[in-house]
Every structure is written in structure tokens, then in C-alpha cells.
């Protein structure tokens, strides 16, 4: 047993060194850079780009991908080269003799079985290590709950007692531990620049770590097909500096003020309270009874730059389109067309603008 253990450990060490060697030989970074320039001739600034990591988790995946990619490129060139070479060299010519009838070669068979095994072992070791690295819960991580709904993501911060939607706000350069589940069907949380995907499953909790290097805005997208408006189940992740994040938390913990008087916004508040919005939407301090159907908490709606599952930017034009007929924008949505008048819509928009 001990011998076996030593041998296998030695094997792993050797394989690991080969891995480093391969990395050095191909001078990963430089090659990767030039390949990117070549490929990105027509795509710039793709916000869901999985090849421009902006955090340690995504970076470890990226390194693994490029290692595999360059090994694959070498194999690709060898095999396609051999294929094309044989076609050009052995293409029938008027004077070609009948070929030798070769039935096989055992040495070759062994060779092309063993070499792939070794190459795969080179990839396997860092793969398995990264799998467990990515799964480990980081120390001192901020816990945030992500709940999937058709078709938007809800975020809860148990430490701060905050509930929000669509835009996940995190402190920059700090590990985040997402605890995720779904309220209905399967969803899949994906912030390509920060980490790979993880499903949100009804009745089970899944975990995903995020870590953003610096303050920035990232795009998120639901990866798993989740029904009619799957394509519009999007999100944003906003990483803030420590002080900005603290300020954000403080602001989020405030309730909304109940508006009095005759302003347009106050009229909008009446629309919110009377037209049916309160069946699903909560505004802390104004209406805090959550109905059966959960919809985004609107207490700090104006603080978020997107709404409707991050499918729309938060501006007056989009809001009036959305409020006039939500299903027009997100087919299958649970938000009914309340048949609001134009005046009611304008009042609501004014009111929503005050929910900072």
C-alpha cells in the first residue's frame, strides 16, 4: 500500500511539473494575448466575455482553459496536418503503384493510446485541484443569498437585513459566498468575468464564490433555459470600494418615506397602493406585507440602473413601456397589465424615481 502511495504521489508530482513545463514552453500569456487580438477583430467590449476574467476565481478557470486550449491546438495541427499531408501525398496519380497492404502496427497502437493518456493526465491534475479550490468556502466571505424567480434574481444579505433584486452589490476585493436556490424552475447564475455557472435548484441550496478585483460593473445572465423569458433573465453585479459599499448598505437599510401632500410622486404612491402593485411588490415603510407571488422589493428601486430582470435600463421611457404592458417586453411575466392610464403611469414613474 505504502509503495503504491509513494509511486502515485511521485507520479502526480512529475505530472504537475510537466504541466508547469508546458505552460512555460508555450509562454501562455503572450500567446494568449496575440490570439485574443486575432480573434477579437470584430468583437470588442462583450460584457459577458468569459475570456477576460476580473477576479481570482474566473482567472483560475481562464488559466486552465488556455492550458487546454494550447494543448488542443497542438493536437489539432498535428492531426489535421497529417490528414492534409496524406491527402496531398497519397492522392491517386497516373503512375501511383498499388499500395502496400498494411493491416496495422501494434507498437503504433500502444503509442497512440499511451501518449493521449499522458497528455490527459497533465490536464487532469490541475483540473481536479481547481474543482476543489473553487468549491471551498473562502474565509471571511460575505454571505449573500440568491433566489431565482421566473425571470429575475433576488438578493438577500442576511448580515445586513437587505433584500434587493437584479443588481447584486458587492464589496470589491473581498470574497463573496453565494447561497442559492430557486423559487420555481431551474435557473443558472452566471457572471462570466467573476466565475463559472452554478444552478439554482428548487428545494436545494447550491453555492458559488465570487471575487472581484476592483470596483466595476459586471453583467450576469441566467444560463439554464427557464421558460418563455429566459433570454431576458439578466443581472448586474456592482463591485464597490469599501467605503462606497458601506454607504450603500447604510442606504439600503433605510425604509422609504411615506409621501404626503399633492406632488406627482405622492399621486404615484397612491397608484402603487391602490392599483394592485402591493399584491406582489413591497416598499419597506410604505407597504411591507409580502403577497403570495414574490416580486422585486422596490424600496430602493431608483438606486438600481436596470429593472425587469435587468432587461431594461431604468429610465422614464422604458418604465412607461413596461408599465403599459409588461408581457409585451417579457412574455410570460407574472406582472399583469393593470391597464393604467397615462396619468397613472407618469405618476408612478415620478414616485419610483424618489425611491433612492
Amino acid at each position: 500500500m505504502i509503495t503504491l502511495y509513494i509511486v502515485s504521489t511521485l507520479f502526480l508530482i512529475i505530472v504537475d511539473n510537466i504541466n508547469m513545463l508546458v505552460k512555460n514552453i508555450f509562454k501562455l500569456k503572450n500567446l494568449k494575448f496575440s490570439a485574443l487580438i486575432l480573434l477579437s477583430a470584430c468583437i470588442e467590449n462583450a460584457p459577458l466575455d468569459s475570456l477576460s476574467p476580473e477576479g481570482p476565481y474566473a482567472r483560475s478557470i481562464d488559466e486552465l482553459f488556455w492550458l487546454t486550449f494550447w494543448i488542443a491546438v497542438v493536437i489539432f495541427v498535428i492531426v489535421q496536418g497529417a490528414l492534409l499531408l496524406s491527402v496531398f501525398v497519397f492522392k491517386e496519380k497516373p503512375d501511383s503503384p498499388e499500395p502496400k497492404q498494411i493491416h496495422g502496427n501494434t507498437k503504433l497502437e500502444i503509442l497512440w493510446t499511451v501518449i493521449p493518456v499522458i497528455i490527459l493526465a497533465v490536464i487532469a491534475v490541475p483540473t481536479v485541484r481547481t474543482i476543489f479550490d473553487l468549491a471551498n468556502e473562502p474565509e471571511d466571505a460575505l454571505k449573500i443569498e440568491v433566489i431565482g424567480h421566473q425571470w429575475w434574481f433576488e438578493y438577500k444579505y442576511p448580515d445586513y437585513d437587505i433584500t434587493t433584486a437584479n443588481v447584486l452589490v458587492i464589496p470589491a476585493d473581498k470574497p463573496i459566498r453565494l447561497e442559492m436556490w430557486s423559487n420555481d424552475v431551474l435557473h443558472n447564475y452566471w457572471v462570466p468575468k467573476l466565475n463559472g455557472k452554478r444552478y439554482l435548484v428548487p428545494g436545494q441550496t447550491t453555492y458559488l464564490n465570487l471575487h472581484a478585483d476592483s470596483p466595476n460593473e459586471f453583467w450576469a445572465q441566467c444560463g439554464e433555459y427557464c421558460g418563455l423569458s429566459h433570454s431576458k433573465m439578466r443581472g448586474r453585479v456592482l463591485s464597490l470600494s469599501e467605503s462606497d459599499f458601506d454607504a450603500w448598505v447604510k442606504n439600503q437599510q433605510q425604509n422609504a418615506n411615506k409621501l404626503e401632500g399633492n406632488s406627482l410622486a405622492a399621486e404615484g404612491q397612491q397608484v402603487y397602493l391602490n392599483a394592485g402593485c402591493t399584491q406582489c411588490h413591497v416598499i419597506d415603510g410604505v407597504w411591507d406585507v409580502q403577497g403570495d407571488r414574490i416580486a422585486p422589493n422596490l424600496t430602493h428601486f431608483a438606486n438600481r440602473n436596470v429593472f425587469a430582470g435587468a432587461a431594461l435600463y431604468n429610465n422614464e421611457e422604458n418604465l412607461s413601456k413596461w408599465l403599459a404592458n409588461p408581457a409585451e417586453i417579457k412574455p410570460g411575466t407574472f406582472m399583469p397589465n393593470l391597464e393604467l392610464t397615462e396619468a397613472e403611469i407618469n405618476a408612478l414613474i415620478a414616485y419610483l424615481g424618489t425611491l433612492k
Binding site: 459577458l48 496495422g104 408581457a327
Partner: protein, 652 residues
């Protein structure tokens, strides 16, 4: 010449059908060749429909935030595209090859159970028709409590839960209406067809091989048929049970996959992919078989490493049952499972690599004739290697969590199933065209088809790798303009239309060559396997006398010997042998008994859609009609007189 003697004796209340020509002869046929041809045409018809659906999808995606389709229509189209291509196009087109070629390659007159063969075909037809009747009868809509701005329309009333039908989205609460029931029961019916033919082929290969046709002398295509049949036999029962669960959940209120009732949606994923991954090999192994026939023939060399290729095929089939969770790396599975399935996925690359290297070994040092079948086989190797390598990147679990559910995966499996399976199939269609129709296809049109398809295919699926890595998610009806994905999406759409053009060229070639093509000699390619040792088109009775096989590639060795250097030398008597074979093949010297046609396979099969409708609409009368048809079919089948066989005698 030969005459066919009709027996006048009637030994039962049922007469067996006797049409030799016309529509009834096709409906009642039990001839494996005719069944193969019908399988081929039906599958090609569905391939065209699936292709049309793909073009519709590509028009929608050619612009960001496009409104050519509604979300409901888009979701129905991608679900039906996947379901059609897998279950109604590629699988049955492989079945067409199995049916036509398997008995010929092992020197048999038919499959072991000719009527079961016909039954399998008719169940496939009724299953496909049942599934597609969703466009007429099916309904779909928003999830319970959701709203739609417009009616779903007929295009949207097809199944819309994806070909993978993930639960609970494909359940009644989130996919109301009957469309997903059509999907679940349609697949159930199609599964029966595949199971029946799987057992039929296994039995045929084990029992019907001609004298001397030992296992290790069987052509590789026959070997791959054998492997695929076992894959079908072991994987289809899993999906059958899972689909019963789905149907019960949807129609009778069980909660196998519903969390609120104690069920587990991830269970569906395990069951589905435990079937679904072997299914991938069910789709690709027949193409491996075809390519392994075409490459040696057009290289004028034996297959390099015959035994290695056979065992690699079975290795792939076996390991194929141990990799299913690589479809679920982002799902709720533990890191240990991720590591395990990542490693097993890497392992399956090894036998696949062995095959590719052996194919390269086959063409290396050969004398390559670049006819259309050879071009498609060479194209197959090139494209399949790309799909295989991108497949290896999926076994890198962390990288896969970035790529899964993006267009990178779409690119990967189209390189495997289109660049792989479909290129192999086209190679086979051209290769055996002369054998089936007795005519030659048009070589220039064939080459135009190949190059158009090669260009269109790479324009369509090449950029998808890049689109996926840039974050275009699968199954999305629209993508935002800010994602900057537009340029390559237009390229992809243009590529898709070039593929469509190449298919039109193929159809023109097929139709005109079949009518006016040059008469084909019976061994136009100087080939190696038994099906080329009989006249073209294949006579009804296949072999006049059962061939006796003395070695692998026996037919080649009757034509060629080797000189001291090991080069092939045509035997002096080869031409004489071929003449005798043709003469003999057209004029059987012995008494031949062929299985009689039968009405009952189609009668029995016609009961199944009624049972399907009965479950969907919970209708007792429909259930009774279906049951009665099944009973009539079964009873007639059982009591049909067997002795009224068609006898073919020679005049001498």
C-alpha cells in the same frame, strides 16, 4: 430468367398480401432493403423539416433584439429542431443504413425478424406523425399565473421545454397545455421503434452470419451496428421510465420531479443524461462504421488496426455509460462527482483518439481516390477532430462551467453530430447509392455538395465557439445589442443558408441520378465487403447462394493477392470471377424462400398514437380504439400463415 412463383394454397382465414409493386407492396413489405429505403426517405424528410426549423431560428438570431419570432415560437422551434434532428433524422437515417446493409454485409437474406423490422419502421412513422401533430392539436402558454401579450399561434403550440425537457420547467405548472405531453409520449413511441430494431439487429448479427463470417471477420460497419444496438437496448429503458414519470407528473398528479411533493428535479437530469450520453454515441457510431468502410475502399488498403477500431468502438460504447454527469457540471452535484465525471470524460477521449489515428493510418501510404464519399469521410475526420478537441475542453470541469449552456457547446456538438455523424451519413449515401439504385450519382454535383457544405458548415458552427466564449447563452430568443455579438451572428446565419443550398444540390443530384444516372457496375469502387459481391441494385433475394467467407475483406481477397513487397496485385482470374458472380447473383440456382409481406405491422403500429392521444386527453374511447388496433395487429400477426412464402425458382 427468374420467375416468382405465387403459391395458391391458402391455409388460414387471412390471406397474406401479395403485391409486388405499387403502394401496397411498400406498406406490407418486410424486405429489409425496402424498409431501409423507406427509413431513409422518412428520415430525410424530417431532416429537411429540422433544417427548416434551424433556418427559422437563425433568421431570428441574425439581429439583436429581433422580433421575427415571438419567445413562444422561438422556444418551440429550438425544442423541435433538437428533438427532430436527434430522434427523427439522425437516428432513423442510421437505421436506414443498418436495415439495408447489415444483412448484405453478413451474407444473410434478411434480418432475423422481418415483420418486427417492418413494425419498427411503422412505429417510427406513427411516432413522428404523432409528435408533429402537436402543431395541429397541441397547446402551450405562459406558466400558471403568467401573462402573454399575444396568442401563442400554431408555430408556438409545439413542445417548448427543450429536447432535454428539464424539470420542473417542462412540468404542467410551468409548461401548461398539451404540447409537452406530445413530446413525452412521442419520444416514448419512437423509443419502442428503436428498441425493437435494436433487438432485431442483435439477434441478426449473432445468428444470421453466413458460413465463415466469424465475429472478427465482420465489417466494421456491422460491428458498429452491433455496438449501437446494445447501446439502444441498455439506454432506452432508462428514458422510457423517466418519460413515464414525466407523463405521470403531468397528467396524473404524481410528483417524481416536483420539490413541493418531495420529488427531485435533479433526478430527471440524471435519468435523462444516463440515456442522453449513450444517445450521443448512438448517433455517432454508425458514422464511425461508414467511414471505416469508405476509407479503406478509396485508399485501396485494408483498415489499419481493424481489431483496435472494433474494440475502441466498444470501449466508447461502454465508457459512454459512465460520463453522463458531464452534462451537469454546473448543476447541483458535488465536487467529488465533478472530478470523477471529469476524469471519465477525459478517458473516453482515448479510444476516440485511437480510432482517428487508425483512420489516418489507413489513408497513409494508400492510393487515394477523392470521390465524393471519400471527400465526406475525410471531411468527417477533420471536423470530428475539432468536435472531439472541444469536447476535451468540457472535461475540464471549471472551464466547462464557463462554457456550458453557451453557444460554445452548441458549436461543439454540431461539430460532432453534423461534422461527424451527418458527414459520415452523406459519405455513406454516396458510397452505397450505386448499390441501392443501380445507377451512378453525378460526381461533379457530389463534389459541389461537399464543398458547399464544408464551407457552410464551418461558417455556421465555427464562429459559434467564439460567440459562446463571448457570452451568448443557448436557448435565448433575443440577445442585447450591448453584448456586441451581432457580427458573428450574421456570419452564422449566412453559413446556415449555404448549408441549405448544399442540401438542395444534394437533392437535385439524388433525384436526377436515380432517374438518368449511368448504369452502375456491381462493384464500382473496387470494394472489400460482401454487399459489393452481388448485382446492383440488390436483387430481392440478396444472395443467390449463401457466400462462404474465408477471411476479413473476403471479397477483396477474391480479386487481389499480394506480391512479395506486400502490394496488391489483381488476380488474373478476377474479371472472370466478377462476371460469374454477377451472372450467378441475377440467376439463383437454388430454391429461395423469402418471408411474406404482412399487413399486421402497420395495423399494430397504428394503435400506438391512439393510445398516446388517449393519455393526453384522458379519453376512454381513444384508448379502446388503440387497444383494439393493437389486438387486431397482434392476433393477425400471430395467426398469419407462415408457410405461404414467396418462392423464387430458377428456370433451369
Amino acid at each position: 430468367m427468374t420467375k416468382i412463383i405465387e403459391p395458391s394454397k391458402q391455409s388460414s382465414i387471412f390471406r397474406r398480401p401479395s403485391s409486388e409493386t405499387g403502394i401496397w407492396s411498400w406498406i406490407t413489405t418486410v424486405d429489409h432493403k425496402r424498409i431501409g429505403i423507406m427509413y431513409g426517405y422518412a428520415a430525410f424528410f424530417f431532416l429537411l423539416i429540422g433544417g427548416l426549423e434551424a433556418l427559422i431560428l437563425r433568421i431570428q438570431l441574425s439581429q439583436p433584439d429581433n422580433n421575427f419570432l415571438t419567445a413562444a415560437e422561438y422556444n418551440a422551434m429550438f425544442t423541435m429542431h433538437g428533438t427532430t434532428m436527434i430522434f427523427l433524422a439522425i437516428m432513423p437515417i442510421s437505421a436506414a443504413f443498418f436495415n439495408y446493409l447489415l444483412p448484405l454485409q453478413i451474407g444473410a437474406r434478411d434480418v432475423a425478424f422481418p415483420r418486427l423490422n417492418a413494425l419498427s419502421f411503422w412505429i417510427f412513422i406513427f411516432g413522428g406523425a404523432f409528435l408533429y401533430s402537436t402543431f395541429i392539436f397541441g397547446t402551450a402558454g405562459a406558466p400558471e399565473g403568467g401573462y402573454l401579450a399575444e396568442e401563442v399561434g400554431w408555430l408556438g403550440s409545439a413542445p417548448n421545454g427543450g429536447w432535454f425537457g428539464y424539470q420542473p420547467n417542462a412540468g404542467m405548472k410551468y409548461s401548461p397545455g398539451t404540447a409537452m405531453d406530445y413530446w413525452a409520449i412521442g419520444l416514448q413511441i419512437l423509443g419502442i421503434a428503436s428498441l425493437i430494431s435494436a433487438f432485431n439487429f442483435i439477434t441478426t448479427i449473432i445468428n444470421m452470419r453466413t458460413e465463415g463470417m466469424r465475429f472478427m471477420r465482420m465489417p466494421v460497419f456491422t460491428w458498429m451496428t452491433f455496438a449501437v444496438s446494445f447501446l439502444l437496448a441498455f439506454s432506452l429503458p432508462i428514458i422510457a421510465i423517466a418519460l413515464f414519470y414525466v407523463t405521470f407528473d403531468r397528467k396524473f398528479g404524481t410528483t417524481f420531479f416536483l420539490t413541493e411533493g418531495g420529488g427531485d428535479p435533479i433526478l430527471w437530469q440524471h435519468l435523462f443524461w444516463l440515456f442522453g450520453h449513450p444517445e450521443v454515441y448512438i448517433l455517432i457510431l454508425p458514422a464511425f462504421g461508414i467511414v471505416s468502410e469508405v476509407l479503406p475502399t478509396f485508399s485501396r488498403k485494408p483498415l489499419f488496426g481493424y481489431a483496435a477500431i472494433v474494440f475502441a468502438g466498444f470501449g466508447i460504447a461502454f465508457i459512454g455509460f459512465g460520463v453522463w454527469a458531464h452534462h451537469m457540471f454546473a448543476s447541483a452535484i458535488s465536487p467529488v462527482a465533478q472530478a470523477g465525471f471529469g476524469l471519465s470524460t477525459m478517458v473516453i477521449a482515448v479510444p476516440t483518439g485511437v480510432k482517428i489515428f487508425n483512420w489516418l493510418g489507413t489513408i497513409w501510404g494508400g492510393k487515394l481516390k477523392l470521390n465524393t464519399p471519400m471527400l465526406f469521410s475525410l471531411g468527417f475526420i477533420g471536423m470530428f477532430v475539432i468536435g472531439g478537441l472541444s469536447g476535451v475542453t468540457h472535461s475540464i470541469v471549471p472551464a466547462d462551467t464557463q462554457q456550458t449552456d453557451t453557444y460554445y457547446v452548441v458549436a461543439h456538438f454540431h461539430y460532432v453530430l453534423f461534422g461527424g455523424a451527418l458527414f459520415g451519413i452523406f459519405s455513406g449515401l454516396y458510397y452505397w447509392f450505386p448499390k441501392v439504385w443501380g445507377k451512378m450519382y453525378n460526381e461533379s454535383l457530389g463534389k459541389i455538395h461537399f464543398w458547399l457544405m464544408m464551407i457552410g458548415f464551418n461558417l455556421t458552427f465555427g464562429p459559434m465557439h467564439w460567440l459562446g466564449l463571448q457570452g451568448q447563452v443557448r436557448r435565448t430568443w433575443v440577445y442585447a445589442e450591448e453584448t456586441n455579438l451581432q457580427f458573428w451572428n450574421i456570419v452564422v446565419t449566412v453559413g446556415a443558408f449555404i448549408i441549405a443550398l448544399s442540401i438542395i444540390v444534394f437533392m437535385i443530384n439524388w433525384i436526377f441520378s436515380k432517374r438518368t444516372g449511368e448504369k452502375a457496375p456491381f462493384d464500382p469502387w473496387d470494394a472489400r465487403t460482401l454487399e459489393w459481391a452481388i448485382p446492383s441494385p440488390t436483387p430481392v433475394w440478396n444472395f443467390s447462394t449463401a457466400p462462404i467467407v474465408k477471411s476479413l475483406d473476403d471479397f477483396w481477397h477474391t480479386k487481389y493477392s499480394e506480391d512479395e513487397e506486400g502490394r496488391a496485385v489483381r488476380r488474373e482470374e478476377a474479371d472472370q470471377i466478377l462476371l460469374e458472380l454477377e451472372e450467378d447473383g441475377l440467376n439463383p440456382s437454388e430454391h429461395i424462400a423469402l418471408p411474406n409481406p404482412s399487413y399486421f405491422p402497420i395495423v399494430l403500429a397504428s394503435g400506438l398514437p391512439f393510445l398516446g392521444y388517449a393519455v393526453i386527453y384522458k379519453s376512454i374511447p381513444l384508448a379502446l380504439i388503440g387497444t383494439v388496433l393493437l389486438l387486431i395487429g397482434g392476433f393477425g400477426w400471430g395467426t398469419e400463415p407462415l408457410e405461404e412464402e414467396i418462392h423464387i425458382d430458377s428456370d433451369e
